[in-house]
Amino acid sequence: MSAGADTPAAPVEASQRRVDKAQFIVCVVLAVVGVFLIVDAMSLTNAFAKVDPVGPKLFPIAIGIAMLVCAVVFAVAILRGETGEAEGGEDIDLSEPSDWKTVGLLIAIFVATIVLIVPLGWAITGTFLFAASATVLGSHHWVRNIAIGAVLAFGSFYLFYVGLGIPLPAGILDGIL
């Protein structure tokens, strides 16, 4: 999974170390999750303390503290010029700057999918998910995008219903499908 083979290895010279500030996001995530685990664990009680010296608290608190420690250690490492090698792959071109607009649009499509999946049903929502994602990713032939999406979504609806016995929500098409 890892090891970007064609990654242009950014030579980090000792003299021209640039601090990759975006990495602080990792520290923030660690700190927030760590604090949450510790606070959450405080409300737990240990009913069998005698035979269960670990209790329900030890693991969350230990993991939480370790996360806080890692957040600090990582922050120091970042300030000293530590950079992570972004993951490469067949379709990944790391020589261009990141295209966060496409990512943002995909996330928006996904949020819409979460909201719509029950009221509209899987067949329609799935069609929308595929067609909209393909369009955002650069396939502008939108009639074909919708056609492929519809085949996948309606096909999987029936396959799951008949083949696996899993009733995906039919939504507004209930009774028609």
Binding site: L44, E96, F110, L129, S139
Partner: protein, 510 residues
């Protein structure tokens, strides 16, 4: 019954027409996703986990076995026909394989990879038949303290040895452990880290985590960096080898297998190191040193065999101890769990038929790969031209479907998005994914094992050291953790080169 008759029993289960069909589907699917960029075998098994709700365990595992070996094989096709390997294990194959393809010898490169994979896979599976029951019958004599220590060893090994930054490995592991905490505490029945949501009482479904981190995270990361110009695919006919190619290939196949299997079977196994060692060995032993760097067939045959043999080796700790050491094995273990089967040393005793059917289907899948893939190679080359918007839109579609079908609740999709974003973040900042998955799987098991050990010992902490195997394992863990520091001290703090750096260097030379 002895192992051989169990294996025969497994074969008789696996060769029913229906199960053979599952094997063919698995092999084709596995190769297809192995060939396709952006999807790997781990992601495929993760996306197919919903079938475990309605398909019998043996059929599901027959299919997973096909996907497991098929995915390994498909990866080599990609790295030979495109110069950008998708998996770390095929990095080495790409060095000589792509040079061969450019020199018009793509058919021979694919043939030696396919036949070498078959040879290594068959020998590896035979070794698995030999060793897994032995390890398992040894492991059942171990008590909770030893088992706890061995699980800790696997966790430490995956986190600290693989990958090039220990700190990043630990961060990834901690994130996984945190995800594993969510749910009801098994001893006291109190909800932990559930945000008060009753849907989270049973914990976060591993399917959701695996699909999110592997599929959604990957799709979002590719979307941020999608190649504008598609890569050049080298066209290929039906793979074949001349007599001289056979003569140059068979020894590297066997040597590669000898490197791959033991490394795969170790708790910190992985295919990177054995493929690299195999490459260096072939480079030293070859009678055609002038061809290395220009497309030497030995440089494809050896590493490819090592890669497949290590895949077979990985199944030893997975089946005999319930310990996953690569991503695909980790996801396959979750399939056991969703069937209500506890992975671990008792597997061979409790579910012998299922395990031996799985092993038998590994042999069958391996054979099917050879007969199907030689004629299908041109088709796989065409598959590489799939328009990328459709490929990644499809991954998003199937990820959503796979995660939603588990419980049919939109909350799972919200979790999918959250962990998908986590997966995106990890790829952006170079955090390895494997420790996270291992943390999610092993974290809860380690906690349970520790607390049960202490319960049995009446709450006495010294009971975790009550077995000799446990003590020995803790010594190994300490050594593993201390070794790099000691080596560095001796070398006067000269930075040691990691495997990855050595591979990079080898690629630059080529």
């Amino acid at each position: 019954m002895d192992n051989l008759s169990w294996l025969m029993e497994g074969f008789s289960q696996a060769v029913t027409p229906m199960n053979l069909l599952y094997a063919v589907i698995g092999v084709l699917l596995g190769t297809a996703v192995g060939v396709l960029p952006g999807i790997g075998p781990a992601m495929t098994v993760a996306l197919l986990l919903p079938i475990t709700y309605n398909v019998s365990p043996s059929a599901a595992f027959i299919m997973f076995a096909g996907i497991y070996y098929g995915g390994m094989y498909g990866g080599s096709t990609t790295s030979i026909l495109l110069n950008t390997p998708g998996e770390s294990a095929s990095v080495i194959t790409a060095i000589e394989g792509n040079k061969m393809a450019r020199a018009g010898r793509a058919a021979q490169a694919l043939a030696t990879a396919a036949i070498g994979s078959f040879v290594a896979g068959s020998i590896g599976t035979m070794l698995l038949v030999l060793f897994a029951p032995i390890v398992s019958s040894w492991a059942v004599t171990l008590g909770a303290p030893s088992y706890l220590a061995i699980m800790l060893l696997a966790m430490v090994a995956v986190t600290a040895i693989l990958g090039n930054s220990k700190l990043r490995g630990v961060i990834s592991l901690l994130l996984g452990l945190a995800i594993g905490l969510v749910g009801i505490d098994f001893l006291t029945g109190q909800p932990r880290a559930t945000f008060g949501l009753p849907q989270l009482a049973d914990g976060i479904d591993l399917v959701v985590v695996a699909v999110a981190v592997f599929a959604l995270g990957e799709a979002l990361w590719v979307a941020a960096h999608l190649r504008r110009r598609p890569l050049e695919v080298i066209p290929v006919g039906r793979p074949w080898m001349a007599k001289s190619d056979w003569k140059r290939s068979w020894k590297p196949w066997l040597r590669g297998t000898a490197y791959g299997f033991p490394f795969g079977a170790l708790p910190a196994g992985g295919a990177e190191l054995p493929t690299f060692l195999s490459y260096i060995t072939e480079k030293k032993l070859t009678k055609h040193p002038e061809e290395f760097g220009k497309g030497a067939i030995e440089g494809v045959a050896g590493p490819e065999a090592a890669n497949n043999a290590s895949a077979a080796g990985t199944l030893v700790p997975m089946l005999s101890l319930g310990l996953p050491t690569n991503a695909t094995a980790a996801v396959m273990l979750t399939a056991f769990v969703s069937y209500g089967i506890t992975p671990g040393p008792t597997l061979f005793e409790k579910e012998p038929l299922l395990i031996w059917t799985l092993i038998a289907s590994l042999f069958i899948g391996n054979f099917l790969l050879l007969v199907l893939n030689l004629p299908l190679a041109p088709l796989w080359a065409k598959l590489l031209r799939t328009p990328r918007p459709y490929l990644y839109a499809g991954i998003l579609f199937f990820a959503t479907l796979g995660a939603f079908a588990v419980n049919l609740q939109p909350l799972d999709l919200a979790l999918l998005l959250v962990f998908g974003l986590l997966g995106l973040m990890m790829r952006r900042f170079g955090l390895p994914v494997l420790p996270l998955i291992i943390g999610v799987i092993l974290g809860p098991r380690i906690e349970r094992q520790l607390r049960q050990t202490l319960q049995l010992g009446g709450g006495d902490w010294s009971s975790i050291f009550s077995e000799p195997v446990a003590i020995a394992t803790y010594v190994v863990i300490t050594l593993l953790l201390a070794l790099p520091a000691i080596v560095q001290l001796i070398r006067h703090r000269r930075p040691e080169s990691t495997v990855q750096e050595m591979i990079e260097k080898e690629r630059d030379n080529a």
